[in-house]
Amino acid sequence: MPTVTFDKKRLLKLIGKNLKDKELEELVNSLKSNVEEISENEIKVELTADRSDMFVLEGFARALRDFIGLDSPEIKISDSKVVVKQEEVPVRPYIACTIVRNVKLDDETIKSLMNAQEILHETIGRKRKKVAIGLHDFDKIEGEIWYKGVSRNEKFVPLGESEEMSLIDVLAKTEKGRKYADLIINANKWPVFVDNKGIFSFPPILNSDRTKITENTKNIFVDVTGIDRNAVKQAMNILVLMFSEMGFKIEGVKIKGKRELFTPEWIETPIEIEKIKIEKFLGEEFKDDELKKLLKKMGYKSVFEKDKVIAIIPPYRFDVFSETDVIEDIAIAYGYNNFAPELPNVFTKGELTEIERISDEIRELLIGFGFQEIVRPILTNEELQFKKMLIEGKAINIKNPVSELYTQMRVWLLPTLMDFLSKNTKEPYPQKIFEIGDVVLPDKKSENGAKEIRKVSAAIAANGSFFAEMKRIVLETAKKMKINVEFKDDKHPSFIEGRFVRIYSGGEEIGLFGEINPQVLENFKVYIPVAALEMKISESNP
C-alpha cells in the first residue's frame, strides 16, 4: 500500500471544485484510499495497490472528479507518424513510446512528473526491474530513432555529466548506475535508444544530458521499457492519463520490430455484465439510469441492453479483470454504507477445536495451582533454547531474520519460561508461571517440513523444593488429558542429576519434569531454585 503526498492546491485545481478539508477527506475515503494527513498545502494519502491510476496526482484528481459527478476530459491519441525501430534486446524486450506535444512545464508540472516517475518505478516498475520510464526533449532528438542492444563500451554523455562515458563506466561510476546495475549487468547487449547523434537513453539506468527536459521543453518523447508487456503498457497508459490531465496533446508512435505495434495501446475494452448478476451479488436492485450514473462516477462509459450492461473499462484501469471488479465499483459508487446489512439464515453449529478445548482445561488447572499464564513469541534463538540450556539440537531457521533474538522456531517451551524468569528477577518470589503454546520441529517427511506440537510448560522459581508439586501437576494434567502416565528417573543436561524424570504414556515419551541445573540458572542469571515441567498436549500436521 503506497503512501504518497500530493500538492493539495493543485489537486483541487485539477478536480475543478473547491473542497473543504473535511469534504476532501470524506471524498478520498469514499474510494479505497485513506487520508492520513491534510495540512494547508499537502494531503498525505495511503493508496491501495490495485488502483495504480491513482498513484499519480493527475489520475488521483480524475478519479475524485468523476466520483463527485463532474465531467472529465476525453483522452484522445493521434498519430505522430514517428517510427521507432526496435531490435531484439532480450534483457528488456518490451517497449512503448509516445510523444507529448504543446508542453508547458512549470515548477508544479515538473514536480508532478518527477513524483509520477518515482512512484511508478517503485510500484509497477518493481524498482525499475519490470518497468523503467525515460522522458526526453523530443526537439533534441534528430533523425531516426532506434531501440537496440549495444556493447558495454558504447559511449554517451549521461544526465548531469559533462564528459562522455562508456556504458560500463556509467554503471560503475554514477549513483543510479550502481543502484540499478544488477538489472542488466549479466546481459551481453545493453538496451539503449539511439538517434542520428548517438545514444540518448540508457534504460533502466540513465538518460542523456543532451535530451534532458528543461522548462523550455515544448515536446516530450517518452520511452517505457521493461520485461513484462502488460506492466509496460500499464505504466505508459498512466503517463498518458497524467499528460492528458495536464492539458497536453498525446501522439502515438509506431514501433517497428519483429511485429508492428502502435503505442500507447489506448484501448477501451468493453465488458458485459448481466443485470441479474449485479442484483444477485449486491443484493440490491438498480434502474438503468441509476447504474449508468454509478458507472460514470467510477469513470466507466456504459451502454445498456435489455438484460445486460456493457461497461467500457477505462484504458488506465488495470485492476478490472472481470465482472466482479465492475460490480465492486458499482458498490463503491453507491456507497457501502447505503447498503442495509442483512444477516442470512445460515444454520451451523459452532465449536472449538479439540486441541483448544483440552488446552483450556489444562490452563484452568494450572491457574488453580496458582500459576500466572504467560504468552511469548514462538520465534527464539539458538543461544537461548539450546546453548543456555546446555543441550544441542536442531530447529527450523529463518533465512531472513530481522533480529538476532528471533532467528528460529522454538522446539520446546521451557527456555521461554527461563527467559521470562531471567527478565523478572526483581519481582517478588515465589514466581509460578506457565505457557500453553506451540513448538515446531523440523520434519522432513511432513508436507511442510515441520511437525507442530501443542505443549504446556510450567515453572516455579522459589526457595524450597517443588519436585513433588511438579509430579502432582503432571498427574493432574494427565487426568485432564485422560491418559495414564509412567515415570522414569533419568538424566538431562538442563536438570540437576538425580532430580529429573521423563514422562511416558503408552510407551511414548510425552514430557519431563525436575529441578533446573544451577549452571542453567547461572546462564540465565536466575539466582533462585527453579522446578519445571513440560508436557505434550497434542501433535499436528497440516
Binding site: 465492486e328 453449529k349 483448544e356 504467560i374 514462538i378
Partner: protein
C-alpha cells in the same frame, strides 16, 4: 499426656462401631447376603474386618452368618471413657488398638504450659485443641500491615480476550479450525491470487525458511497454476513451493476451501502469524489474526455487511461503518470501523467476498464471504495499552497487576 477422640472415633461413639452395627443387624435373621449388607451397614469393609477377626461372623457363599454373639463391645466403652477424660481407666492394650484404628490420638500439651499468660503471635492448632488459647494473649494486628507478596494464578489477559472472542464466534455458529505455522507459499499467497511478484511476497513481508513444501492437492495446484498464467501472464512455480512462516491467517481459510464438502460452512481461526517487521510499539514480528469464512449458496454483499456488523459487536461499539478497501483475494473488499466512546471511529477489521480466481480452482461456485477481525487492536483497546509488545510481555509485574 492426654488422649482425645479423632473425628472417626467421635462418629463411632455416636453411631456405634461398624462391627457392632453389623452384628446387631445379623441378629435379626442370623445371616444376610453381602450385597444387602454393603448397602445397609456404613463402613461395611471395616465392620467385616473386625467382626471376622473376633470370630463373630463367617462368610458362606455370598452370605454372612453370625456364628458367635458377642457379650459386650469393650471398644465402645473405652471410647466413652476417653471422651469423658477418663483415659486412665482404659487399659494400655485397648488404647494401642484404638490408636492403631485411628479412633484415638495421643496429645501432649506440656510445652504449652510455659505460654500461660504470655502474648503469642501465631495461634496454633495445639493451642486450640488443648484449650490453652484461653490462657494466652494473642498479639494484635492492624490494617497498616503490608500485604503479603503472594499473587493469584491468572489467565493471560490477551488469552482471556481471545477466549471471549472465540466464545462469541462459536455462539454465531462458527467452528474453529487450525492450520500450520510453517506454511507452503502456495497456500499463503498463490491460492489467494497474489501474483508471484506481488510486493507483499518479498523478504520484507514474509519470513522464509529452508526447503520446499509438497502440495498434495495436485488438481488444485494445476488449477491455480492455470489461473495465474491466464490472469497474470506467468507463475513462478518454485516460489510457490517455498516454505515460509504463515504471514496471514487467510492461509488457514484457503486450506479449508480444499476441504469443503458440503454447504453451508462457517469457520474461523485465531492464531499466530509472522512478519519481518521492524519491531516497535505498533509492530511485532508475531501477532494473532482472527479470520473466518461463510460459504453458502445465494450469499451476497449485504450478507457480508450483516456478518461484519454482528462480528463487530465483540468490540462493544455503538455504531459501525464500512469503507471500500483492497485485498488481493477479495472483491469487493471492505474495511470496517466501529465507534467507541471517546475514541471515535476505530478500525475493527477487513473483509470481502473471495474472488472467483480464488474459489474456482477449488471447484467452489458458491459465494464465500471472508472476514478478518483486528483481534490485537481489540485487545489493546480493552487493556488500554498502546504498545503491541505488551500482548507478548515479559513483564511479570504488569501481568500480576493488569
Amino acid at each position: 499426656m492426654q488422649y482425645v477422640l479423632t473425628e472417626e472415633g467421635e462418629k463411632y461413639l455416636k453411631n456405634g462401631l461398624p462391627e457392632k452395627n453389623l452384628v446387631l443387624y445379623l441378629e435379626k435373621f442370623g445371616k444376610a447376603p453381602i450385597s444387602d449388607l454393603e448397602k445397609e451397614i456404613e463402613n461395611f469393609d471395616i465392620a467385616l474386618l473386625w467382626a471376622k477377626k473376633k470370630g463373630w461372623v463367617e462368610l458362606k457363599f455370598n452370605e454372612l452368618v453370625l456364628v458367635k454373639k458377642p457379650e459386650s463391645f469393650p471398644e465402645e466403652e473405652a471410647l466413652r471413657k476417653i471422651k469423658e477424660n477418663r483415659a486412665n481407666e482404659v487399659d494400655s492394650e485397648m488404647l494401642k488398638i484404638l490408636i492403631q484404628r485411628k479412633l484415638v490420638e495421643k496429645v501432649s500439651y506440656t510445652h504449652l504450659e510455659e505460654l500461660k499468660g504470655k502474648e503469642i503471635t501465631v495461634l496454633t492448632s495445639d493451642l486450640i485443641k488443648s484449650g490453652y488459647w484461653r490462657e494466652v494473649k494473642i498479639k494484635k494486628y492492624s490494617s497498616d500491615i503490608p500485604p503479603s507478596e503472594t499473587f493469584p494464578g491468572k489467565i493471560h489477559p490477551y488469552i482471556k480476550i481471545i477466549k471471549e472472542v472465540k466464545e462469541f464466534l462459536i455462539g454465531l455458529g462458527f467452528k474453529e479450525i487450525r492450520g500450520p505455522l510453517v506454511e507452503i507459499n502456495f497456500w499463503n499467497c498463490d491460492v489467494l491470487f497474489m501474483p508471484s511478484d506481488h510486493p507483499a511476497r518479498e523478504i520484507h513481508d514474509i519470513f522464509f525458511v529452508e526447503g520446499e513444501g509438497k502440495v498434495k492437492e495436485k488438481e488444485i495446484w494445476e488449477n491455480v497454476k492455470k489461473m495465474h498464467e491466464k490472469k497474470w501472464g506467468y507463475w513462478d512455480e518454485n516460489l510457490a513451493k517455498k516454505l515460509i512462516l504463515r504471514s496471514q491467517c487467510t492461509a488457514v481459510s484457503a486450506r479449508s476451501l480444499a476441504k469443503i464438502r458440503k454447504l453451508p460452512v462457517k469457520i474461523f481461526t485465531i492464531d499466530r502469524v509472522f512478519r519481518p517487521d521492524v519491531i516497535d510499539a505498533k509492530h511485532f514480528i508475531e501477532f494473532e489474526q482472527c479470520e473466518g469464512i461463510v460459504a453458502d449458496e445465494n450469499l451476497n454483499f449485504k450478507h457480508l455487511l450483516g456478518y461484519l456488523k454482528e462480528i463487530a459487536k465483540v468490540f462493544g461499539g455503538e455504531d459501525v461503518k464500512f469503507k471500500p478497501s483492497y485485498f488481493p483475494f477479495t472483491e469487493p473488499s471492505v474495511e470496517m470501523y466501529v465507534k467507541i466512546g471517546n475514541l471515535g471511529w476505530v478500525e475493527a477489521g477487513g473483509a470481502g467476498i473471495f474472488r472467483e480466481e480464488v474459489t474456482k480452482p477449488f471447484g467452489i461456485n458458491a459465494p464465500v464471504l471472508a472476514w478478518g477481525l483486528g483481534i490485537g487492536r481489540l485487545a489493546m483497546l480493552k487493556l488500554s495499552i498502546e504498545d503491541i509488545r505488551y500482548l507478548y510481555s515479559d513483564d511479570l509485574k504488569w501481568l500480576r497487576e493488569v
